[in-house]
Amino acid sequence: MTLLVPPAPVTPPVGPARLIAPDTGPSLGEHLARLGPLPRPTGDLPAMVTAAGVRGRGGAGFPTGTKLAEVAGAGESKYVVANGTEGEPLSAKDRALLTASPHLVLDGMVAAALAVRAGTAILCVSEGRPDVLAAVRRAVAERRDPVEVVVAAVPDRYVAGQETALVNWLSGGDAVPTSGPRPARRGVRGRPTLVDNVETLAHVGLVARFGAGWFRSLGLPEEPGTALVTVAGGVARPGVYEVPIGYPLGQLLARAGAGPVGALAVGGYFGTWIDPVRGLAAPLSDAGLGPLGARLGAGCLAVLPTDSCALAEVAAVADWFAASSAGQCGPCLFGLADLAAAVRWLLAGRPEGAPAADRWSAMVEGRGGCHLPDGAARWVRSALAVLGQEIEWHRAGGCGRPYRGYLPAPVPGGRA
């Protein structure tokens, strides 16, 4: 859709409603009215993104500008892959972003593709989210971009969203992690591939318009910008909130309508259980959460109220971890199942669950082809560290609280 008359200059968004604006719909017209068109590439986008301090929002937090520069430097024809698969079950931010602001994500993909000189940009969404797929396909149909933009429906499993699994599947293989070079060196069909989370690319789409200085006007000097945070569990208003990085965690939970907090995990299933008292006083940043042993990661908060059995929730997710194994690595395939069994022993009041969980979480850590076993180990180990009281109650006969199923633990259907 071309504009015959140059629009009036658009003022950059003020305040934290950058990625998702509450009153703006997903259509191209509304997107352009709010943010203006994506400018023709004039400067060095990787340098601008580095100056802005954008970091990956898929969980790892790798500096985005560095990744852009690496892929831009490679020689042959390349690909850009936007990872919107959102395998972390607790996270809803990617699908919220793709339904509310698909064009911002697509802008970021196109800007990145032009910067690294890729001919094709592929937006990956889980096939288990037909509503999201429909929304992004509608958005792509509204546009005409200088690069080819494709939507891919990826198998609905956590491991399928891991970046080597994603490029392997896009190249015609199975959606399971592979050993070998990183996608930035050899990705889709052997070409250098930029793989970024959709939220990361949305931030790139904003930086390309409004620059590094504007991006840094919110957030912290070391961790600038805003972040989409999913609040899940037993709260009155669960959902996705956009906050400047460094926003007080307790304040966000209050906005989400949380009551008395029995247990709190930061970073989703691939994050860490933390002490709720210290957690409520902490800011939502890596620097603020570091002393509690956690990171902001993909920005998910799991809140369990005092009226639910936290240990049972932990056990359900431990089962999910075991069921999510790609089945390629022995320590993961067998170890995660045993780890889940150890948690169930604790749930049943059997004390041997604690040394078994310690032993097996240490035994699986770092020994898989992807970070699934690391996530499981961290989940169980941190839970046992903060749920000492609950474990004691179960030892004595039970905690008296029912399992409420606040934390989703969907059993993946079929093989990748």
Binding site: P177, T178, S179, C329, G330, P331, D338, R359, R367, G368
Partner: protein
Amino acid sequence: MKRLRLVVDPIACDGRGVCRDLLPEVVALDDWGFPILPAGPLPPEVVADARRAVSLCPRLALRLVEMTGA
């Protein structure tokens, strides 16, 4: 004198156990039969056996990597 480390590709490894047979003092097995390799350099006297293990691994899952840095 090169410092060499034995590294396993967990995706290729199927727990066949040939490496464990050849290097019992270096390779431990976890509770599920899969090799646990030391993070540090190999003692020089087992390097020859380690090369043999790399060559004989039925899944080509082992690699000898030179350790860099201090």
